[in-house]
């Protein structure tokens, strides 16, 4: 089975500062990796995904993530955050595309 660990439950950051949200996964086989964002009282929206190829993937809203197989990590980054980025962020992994395993989430708060 796979599992996902999001190392930071809460991340406060000032507006226009860079941010990194950390994600580590555990799996004995190759997996596909995803980051989702959840705004209050809404469902999840896909930010980006890694399926294969380049280990640096770019997503929506200026986010990017780097897949590191040796460290089993898939950290999410943004060079300059905005107030509107305040939300809950979830890292997820799947081996087959049927069952997804999510982390417990990181609450990003952007401070004006």
């Amino acid at each position: 089975a796979q599992s996902v660990t999001q190392l930071d439950s809460q991340v406060p950051v000032f507006e226009e500062a860079p941010v990194e949200l950390r994600c580590n996964y555990s799996s004995s086989v190759s997996v596909y990796l995803f980051w989702y964002v959840q705004y209050p009282n809404q469902g999840l929206q896909l930010l980006l995904k890694y399926l294969s190829g380049s280990t640096l993937v770019k997503g929506i809203n200026g986010f990017e993530a780097e897949f590191n197989k040796s460290q089993t990590s898939f950290h999410l980054r943004k060079p300059s955050v905005h107030i509107s980025d305040t939300a809950e962020y979830f890292c997820a992994v799947t081996r087959t595309g049927n069952q997804f395993y999510f982390g417990t989430g990181t609450s990003l708060t952007v401070i004006p």
Partner: protein, 115 residues
């Protein structure tokens, strides 16, 4: 193009009762997955339906059951409700494995409160 829709938005039930939640997938999608998201937690996979059959199931008791209709819409049924079943229930639709990019599109969820 309508995205994933879920009904109802909110629901309050009493322990021991039964509940049915509904989901309509994004246009063109044929696979529906259900997740339970407890407060402050990430979504937990309940099961996935494709071609009107349960394809895969997570670690949930038999009190949780589902159905998929020929138009790909789906229902989640929970019997003998417990207080611990209080959560946001998310439906996600996608294309079947082998024809897709592994993207799941989520609905806004149904907030179930069990008292």
């Amino acid at each position: 193009d309508a995205g994933v829709t879920q009904s109802p938005t909110h629901l309050i039930k009493t322990r021991g009762q039964q509940v049915t939640l509904r989901c309509s997938p994004k246009s063109g999608h044929d696979t529906v997955s259900w997740y339970q998201q407890a407060l402050g937690q990430g979504p937990q996979f309940i099961f996935q339906y494709y071609e009107e059959e349960e394809r895969q199931r997570g670690n949930f008791p038999d009190r949780f059951s589902g159905h998929q209709f020929p138009n790909y819409s789906s229902e989640l049924n929970v019997n003998a409700l417990l207080l611990g079943d209080s959560a946001l229930y998310l439906c996600a639709s996608s294309l079947a494995v082998g024809r897709r990019d592994y993207e799941q599109y989520f609905g806004p969820g149904t907030r179930l409160t069990v008292t």
